[in-house]
């Protein structure tokens, strides 16, 4: 069903956040204090700090639900040990989420609902009211290649820039409540057309494209014969993990126990992990089943475009481009994927 649409002025959008901030913390893209021109998702101190037209952030908004490093529970060394869960119960607003990042949240909803289901992720997800916003791509964005350009899943309210402010699509009662705090207007045909044109412009401006759709990429990867490409990519890869730690669709983590100085109590901490790191696949007996860098590089592509595509029915890539922006070895996901598409197609033609 088509969502209810309303128009809110640009000032009205800030007023809406200001109203929300009276009751709840608001996490949204803001300019980095130490580095103007760059943005991050942060808890707003004042509504004016929200930057509606940011291009991207280093970390995706998933960090609002799944912190890069967080305490799961405390323990004691008693027999049996006394465990106490540590969890967030604070409601919040997550605003300024681009469609690709909504797709990232959606991808994690799906992954974490597989048995044995995650308990923490859905609980934390339930704490937030999510406000999406449409965007313009930079040289690294390629959402139109993975079908995430128009994602609205999981958002309560979605905003698109129009001439006289923003066209707001209302998806849930929570979104409606937020919007109801400020003055809105019925959209005119011009507003609807503005928003459509925005979406058209967004796709037109996209310069990065995958040369095949996810279904074909999965088949090509499955057919194999790409060893030299993995090797070539691995030769310039640091195995630094930044392509995973910045990815909205990655969900792996590691866990550690830490004692405090009494040596009688401690915490279990979980932190984001990355399959590109040397010790990711290190198991008991110091055996590492992906010791070679090229095995890890291949794993990243297989994981994003083959295994999870087959198992969960979607590529685990939202086209956000963060991995390529973050890579200090200049490995670009779109280029590498296109190189292997070209190679695999050529190989298929010769077969």
């Amino acid at each position: 069903m088509a969502p209810l649409k309303q128009v809110v002025s640009s000032e009205g959008l800030f007023d809406m956040l200001r109203e929300a901030m009276k009751e709840l913390p608001v996490i949204a893209p803001a300019e980095r204090k130490d580095q103007p021109g760059f943005h991050h998702f942060a808890r707003l101190q004042q509504a004016e700090d929200f930057v509606p037209d940011y291009v991207t952030t280093t970390l995706p908004p998933k960090k609002a639900f799944f912190q890069p490093s967080e305490t799961l529970f405390t323990f004691t060394t008693d027999q049996p040990p006394a465990l106490e869960l540590v969890s967030d119960t604070e409601h919040f607003v997550l605003a300024g989420v681009h469609p690709c990042d909504l797709a990232g949240l959606d991808a994690l909803d799906l992954a974490y609902s597989q048995p044995p289901a995650e308990v923490r992720w859905p609980a934390d997800r339930g704490l937030a009211t999510v406000v999406g916003i449409d965007c313009m791509p930079d040289d690294y964005c390629f959402c139109s290649s993975v079908g995430t350009c128009l994602t609205r899943q999981g958002c309560d309210l979605f905003l698109t820039k129009v001439d006289r402010g923003y066209l707001a699509e209302v998806y849930t009662p929570a979104g409606d409540t937020m919007l109801a705090k400020v003055r809105t207007w019925e959209p005119t045909e011009a507003d609807i057309r503005d928003a459509e044109q925005w979406r058209e412009r967004k796709v037109e401006r996209m310069t990065a494209h995958l040369e095949a759709d996810p279904a074909e990429i999965a088949d090509l990867l499955e057919a194999g014969g790409l060893a030299h490409l993995w090797k070539e990519t691995a030769e310039r890869c640091y195995s630094c993990g930044s392509c995973n730690t910045t990815c909205p669709a990655c969900f792996c983590f590691d866990m550690h126990d830490e004692f405090d100085l009494s040596l009688k109590t401690g915490i279990r901490r979980r932190t984001w992990d990355s399959c590109q790191l040397l010790e990711f696949a290190l198991v008991a007996g110091r055996h590492n089943f992906r010791q070679e860098r090229e095995q890890r590089v291949r794993h990243r592509w297989h994981r994003k475009f083959l295994y999870l595509y087959r198992r969960l029915g979607r590529a685990y890539c939202t086209g956000c481009g963060r991995c390529s922006r973050a890579c200090t070895a200049d490995i670009n996901l779109v280029d590498v994927t296109n190189a292997l598409i070209a190679h695999a197609r050529k190989a298929a033609d010769h077969a």
Binding site: Q35, L59, Y140, R236, S242, L261, L277, T328
Partner: protein
């Protein structure tokens, strides 16, 4: 000093700036918590008196003279557990920069033509001279890691120095990568554990904690010395300063000199 059943700890220094010891002192109140678990019997920088017997020896600095070799061997024999503090003790750090020149030549440069009697030897980390049970790396060490290693010592657990690059900590803290500002950083090949303290202040990582295992130095050489078209962010970096192989070598040479770093095309260290 009252006798107790607590293990006895001693601090020793070799060639270094003693910054790691000073860092330990910055523990302030936490130091009192540590003293619940150990008695400190020798610590020249902090107290008078010393003891011939101790259970845990914390040693900082590099080995640069024959007599240092004897001294660290004696410490090793006495202590049940030897913990190195800092990169001088762990990877040679700045001390090993001088290994590029023969000892005689250096002595002459420093002391002139006069005949000098010296037992100087090429500088090396403690880890290259005696077996070491625990290592805290860093120039200087990071306090949270020191405390963590201390707890491992007390509970008799093995401690593996972090083997992930600084990029991991940088990203987990959501810091802006300095490459985005056109700087070059050694974080992708440097061991973390410092919680990316330098990049948190907008500086690049200079590699003070040494290389991660299997560091791909080749990647850096490839990115900056291959004249291919780079993507916008990396292009902005290369545009400002596309370093030569020699310049890359020099950046590593601030901290990473032991063993001598052979930086050339196709280099991966310590597979």
């Amino acid at each position: 000093m009252p006798s107790s059943s607590k293990p006895k700890a001693a601090f020793f220094d070799f060639a270094c700036c003693e910054g790691c010891q000073l860092t330990v002192l910055q523990l302030e109140e936490t130091l009192l918590d540590l003293l619940e678990h150990v008695d400190i019997v020798t610590w020249r920088e902090v107290m008078t008196g010393e003891s011939e017997s101790y259970d845990v020896a914390f040693c900082e600095g590099s080995i640069t003279r024959e007599r240092d070799v004897e001294r660290i061997k004696k410490i090793r024999e006495t202590a049940g557990i030897l913990v190195t503090l800092g990169s001088c003790a762990g990877i040679g750090c700045h001390n090993a920069v001088r290994n590029k020149w023969p000892v005689e030549e250096l002595l002459q440069k420093v002391y002139g033509t006069e005949e000098v009697v010296s037992d100087a030897i090429p500088a090396r980390p403690i880890t290259a001279v005696v077996p070491v049970d625990y290592q805290v790396l860093g120039c200087p060490i990071s306090l949270p890691e020191f405390v963590s290693v201390f707890k491992h010592v007390l509970t008799g657990r093995k401690y593996y120095p972090p083997n992930q690059p600084v990029c991991v900590e940088c990203k987990l803290n959501d810091y802006l990568c300095v490459y985005e500002k056109g700087m070059i950083c050694l974080g992708p090949v440097t061991r973390c554990g410092c919680n990316a303290i330098c990049t948190s202040r907008g500086d690049a990582c200079h590699g003070c904690r040494g290389l991660i295992e299997n560091a791909n130095l080749n990647a850096m050489v490839k990115v900056f010395t291959e004249m291919r078209k780079l993507h916008p962010i990396m292009d902005a970096v290369a545009d400002r300063h596309r370093p030569t192989l020699e310049q890359i070598r020099r950046r590593f040479a601030v901290y990473n000199n032991w063993p001598e770093l052979k930086l050339e095309r196709g280099t991966t260290h310590g597979a």
